[in-house]
C-alpha cells in the first residue's frame, strides 16, 4: 500500500533511508543537505530506527567512517553537498575501489569560489570519475524512489559499487511536494538487509586495502569497469521489481515526447521537469519537441540514449556545470562521444545554464527549443556552446 505525504526532497531522502533498514549513517551538516541529517537524527533520537548515527567532525571523516562501517558489513547511508563532497573527494575513490556499496544523497550545490549555497552540478561533476554510480532525480518522488532502489543496486554482488542519488539543491532539497510513499513493511521486504560478500570478520580474517603496485592495480581498476557494465542489468532488474511493487516505472533514461520529435532537450535533474512543461505547451501548438533525461549518468546509458535520440534532427544538451577549457560541458561531451562512436550525424549544441542556482525559466527553455528547431530545419549549428541566462 502507498499513501501520499508532503515531503521536501531532503525529507524524502531521509525517509527513504529510514525505510531501507540502514545500519549506519555517518554525516556532517552542509546546506542544502542538512535537512537530511537533521531528519535522520530525529529518527535515531526517537528510537524509530536501529541505525547508529555517527555525527562526525568533517565530511572527510563522514566518508571514512562510512567506508569502515561498510567493510564491517553494514548497510550505510550518508548525504552531502558541494564543499562537503569536495572534501570527501579522496575517500570517494577509496569507497569505490574497496567496493563499498554506500548510498549517498547529494543535494547538488555550486562549488566555491565565489561561495554560493544554491544548486548546480559542479559538485558531482567534479567527482564524476570517482567510481560511483550516479543517479539524478527530477523531483522529491524520484529522490525517494531511487534511494530505495540504490541500496539494491549498490549491494548486488555483481555490482558492489557505491551510488549517489543527486537532487538539485533548494529546487528539490527544500521544496515541499506530495510524495507517494510505500508502507515500511513493503520497503523493508524490497530492500531486505545487506548480505555482504565479505566483511572484516575475526572468524575469517581478511586484509582490505593492501598495497597494489604495477603488478595488480590495473586489474583492480579493470574489475571496477566490469562492475559498471554489469550494473545495467541489475538496474533493469531492480527497476522492474520496484515497478511491480509501486507501479512507478524507472529506467536508465526518461523520455518525453521524443518519438515524433525533430528536436529535443537533454538534461539532468529538476530542469527536465521545466523542460517537459514547456515541451507539452509547444507540442499542443504542433511543435515537435521532446525531452530526454538520463536518470543514470554513470554508468552512462549509451544504448538507451542512442535509442532515445533516434529520429531527432537536433539536440540541445544542457549542462549545469562548467568544464573549464573543455570543448563542451561534461554531459554534452559524453553525448558527442556516443554519437560519434555510432556514426550519427545528429546536430547538437550545448547550453551551460543555472550556475550558482541561477533560475532557468520556461522562457529560457522555449528559446532553447526554438533554437533546436531552427538547427533541425537548417541542419546548421551556429553556436556550439551557449551560456543561457548569463549577463555577458
Amino acid at each position: 500500500m502507498s499513501r501520499v505525504i508532503g515531503l521536501t526532497g531532503d525529507e524524502a531522502a531521509a525517509y527513504a533511508a529510514k525505510q531501507s533498514n540502514v545500519d549506519v549513517v555517518a554525516a556532517y551538516p552542509i546546506t542544502p543537505q542538512t535537512i537530511i541529517v537533521e531528519t535522520f537524527s530525529e529518527y535515531v533520537f526517537n528510537g524509530e530506527v536501529h541505525a547508529e548515527f555517527i555525527c562526525v567532525e568533517s565530511e572527510h571523516s563522514a566518508m571514512s567512517a562510512c567506508i569502515g562501517a561498510s567493510l564491517a558489513g553494514a548497510r550505510v547511508f550518508t548525504a552531502t553537498a558541494s564543499q562537503g563532497l569536495a572534501l570527501m573527494h579522496e575517500m570517494l575513490y577509496i569507497a569505490s575501489g574497496l567496493r563499498c556499496p554506500i548510498v549517498m544523497a547529494v543535494a547538488n550545490r555550486a562549488l566555491s569560489a565565489p561561495i554560493n549555497i544554491h544548486g548546480d552540478h559542479s559538485d558531482m561533476m567534479g567527482s564524476r570519475d570517482s567510481g560511483w554510480i550516479q543517479i539524478y532525480a527530477e523531483n522529491a518522488q524520484e529522490a525517494y524512489d531511487w534511494i530505495i532502489q540504490a541500496f539494491r543496486i549498490a549491494e548486488d554482488h555483481d555490482v558492489l559499487l557505491p551510488v549517489t542519488v543527486n537532487l538539485d539543491g533548494f529546487i528539490l532539497s527544500h521544496s515541499l511536494e506530495g510524495v507517494e510513499v510505500q508502507d515500511d513493511e513493503e520497503v523493508s521486504r524490497f530492500v531486505s538487509t545487506r548480505k555482504p560478500l565479505f566483511r572484516v570478520d575475526p572468524d575469517r580474517p581478511i586484509t582490505v586495502g593492501a598495497l597494489c603496485l604495477t603488478d595488480y592495480y590495473f586489474e583492480v581498476k579493470r574489475q571496477q569497469v566490469e562492475a559498471f557494465d554489469k550494473a545495467f542489468q541489475v538496474i533493469e532488474k531492480v527497476n522492474k521489481e520496484y515497478y511491480e511493487l509501486t507501479g512507478r516505472e524507472y529506467g536508465t533514461v526518461d523520455v518525453y515526447g521524443v518519438e515524433d520529435s525533430e528536436a529535443a532537450i537533454l538534461c539532468l535533474g529538476s530542469t527536465a521537469g521545466t523542460a517537459k512543461a514547456v515541451a507539452k505547451n509547444l507540442r499542443s501548438k504542433g511543435r515537435k519537441v521532446g525531452v530526454i533525461k538520463p536518470w543514470v549518468y554513470r554508468p552512462f546509458p549509451s544504448e538507451d540514449l542512442l535509442e532515445a535520440v533516434k529520429g531527432l534532427k537536433a539536440l540541445a544538451v544542457l549542462d549545469r556545470a562548467c568544464s573549464f577549457g573543455a570543448p563542451y560541458g561534461a554531459l554534452c561531451s559524453d553525448i558527442a562521444s556516443i554519437l560519434y562512436r555510432n556514426g550519427s550525424d545528429l546536430k547538437i549544441f550545448n547550453g551551460i545554464y543555472g550556475l550558482g542556482g541561477r533560475d532557468i525559466t520556461p522562457s529560457d527553455i522555449k528559446v532553447i527549443f526554438d533554437e533546436a528547431l531552427e538547427v533541425a530545419r537548417t541542419g546548421t549549428v551556429k553556436e556550439p556552446i551557449k551560456f543561457v541566462g548569463v549577463r555577458e
Binding site: N21, V24, S64, L71, M91, V200, P202, G209
Partner: protein, 306 residues
C-alpha cells in the same frame, strides 16, 4: 606486569613483512598482537607499517585488517565500531571484538589529528596506537609535528644557518587527555612488559584509549639496526621520553629515572643529530637538554612526583 612465559606464542603479525631490520613499528605491532584479549580488528593508517606488511597478494596479518588512507584511521575505526553496534542490534554480529588503530606520527600529530580528536570526543570504543618515529619516514624522512628540535630531516636539513628542525615536539598525550578520555599513555618498546600492560589496559577501557609509543627507525633516525632497542631505552633513561599514563585525568609516572643520563647519550647514536656535535651548534644540545628537563619537570609535577 606480564612475564615472558605468560605471553602467547601465537604470532598474529607474521614474519615475511618488508619492514627494515630494526624497525620499531614491526616490533610494536608484534608485541601489540601478543597483548590481545579477544578477536581484534586492526585499522592501519597509510605509512611504513601498512605498505611493508600488505603488499598484495601478501599480508602479514592474521587478524582482520583494514587500510583506508593516511589521515583517517580513527574515523574508519569509528565506522567499524558503529557498524558492529548496529549489526548486533539486528542479530547480524554475535561476537565481542576489539578494535585497534595504528598510525605513525605524521598520520597522528599532523594530518590525522582532526579525525582522532573527533573520534575521541564521540567516545568510540577503540584503542589508538601512535607509533612515533618522529618524522615522515615512509616518504623519505620529512619533518612532522613530532620531530624533535634539532633533528635533521629532508625538509629540516642540517643547514649551515639552521641546524635541523627549529621547533619542539607537540604534547600529544596532553592533547588526548584534554578530551577527557579514560586512558592515555606513553610507552617505549624497550620496556615491553609496561607496553603490553598498557595495551591490555587500553583495550579493557570502554571507550577510546590512546598509546603513544616511541618507535626507533634505523633509516630515518640514522642508527645501526641493532641499536633500536638501546635507543628506545636511552630515550627513557635520558628522560627524553617520559613513560607515564593518564587515567581519568590522573597522571602516573610508570618508569622512574632517578639518575638520568645526559641527552648526548641518546643523541650521539643517531645520525639525525650528528651535526649538533659540531662546535658551532653545541649550544643546541644544551637547548635540547633544557627542553628535556623542563618537560620532565612538567610531567613529574602532573604525576605528583616532583
Amino acid at each position: 606486569m606480564v612475564t615472558l612465559k605468560e605471553l602467547t606464542v601465537e604470532e598474529l603479525f607474521t614474519s615475511g613483512h618488508r619492514l627494515c631490520a630494526g624497525c620499531g613499528a614491526g616490533i610494536i605491532a608484534r608485541m601489540t598482537l601478543k597483548a590481545l584479549r579477544r578477536p581484534t580488528i586492526i585499522v592501519n593508517a597509510t605509512g611504513c607499517l601498512e605498505v611493508a606488511s600488505t603488499i598484495y597478494p601478501y599480508t602479514s596479518w592474521r587478524t582482520p585488517w583494514v587500510h583506508v588512507a593516511f589521515e583517517n584511521a580513527a574515523a574508519v575505526a569509528s565506522g567499524i565500531e558503529a557498524a558492529i553496534k548496529a549489526l548486533k542490534k539486528r542479530g547480524a554480529w554475535n561476537k565481542e571484538v576489539d578494535i585497534i588503530a595504528f598510525a605513525g606520527d605524521g598520520g597522528t600529530f599532523d594530518i590525522g589529528i582532526q579525525a582522532l580528536s573527533g573520534a575521541l570526543e564521540r567516545g568510540h570504543d577503540f584503542l589508538y596506537i601512535c607509533y612515533d618515529n618522529e618524522a615522515y619516514m615512509n616518504t623519505g624522512i620529512q619533518r612532522s609535528g613530532a620531530t624533535p628540535h634539532g633533528a635533521a630531516t629532508t625538509t629540516s636539513p642540517a643547514g649551515t644557518k639552521i641546524p635541523g628542525k627549529p621547533e619542539f615536539k607537540k604534547d600529544f598525550i596532553g592533547i588526548c587527555a584534554a578530551h577527557g578520555i579514560e586512558y592515555a599513555a606513553t610507552a617505549s618498546p624497550a620496556y615491553w612488559n609496561d607496553y603490553i600492560r598498557k595495551v591490555q589496559r587500553g583495550l579493557a577501557v570502554e571507550g577510546p584509549a590512546v598509546i603513544h609509543v616511541f618507535s626507533p627507525c634505523p633509516l630515518g633516525m640514522r642508527h645501526d639496526s641493532d641499536k633500536s632497542i638501546e635507543i628506545a631505552r636511552l630515550a627513557v633513561q635520558t628522560r627524553y621520553w617520559p613513560v607515564y599514563e593518564v587515567e581519568n585525568g590522573k597522571y602516573k609516572l610508570n618508569i622512574k629515572v632517578p639518575r638520568p643520563k645526559p641527552i648526548e647519550e641518546f643523541l650521539k647514536l643517531q645520525g639525525r643529530f650528528r651535526h649538533l656535535f659540531k662546535p658551532q651548534f653545541q649550544h643546541e644540545i644544551k637547548r635540547i637538554q633544557e627542553w628535556v628537563d623542563e618537560n620532565w619537570k612538567r610531567i613529574t609535577e602532573l604525576c605528583g612526583e616532583a
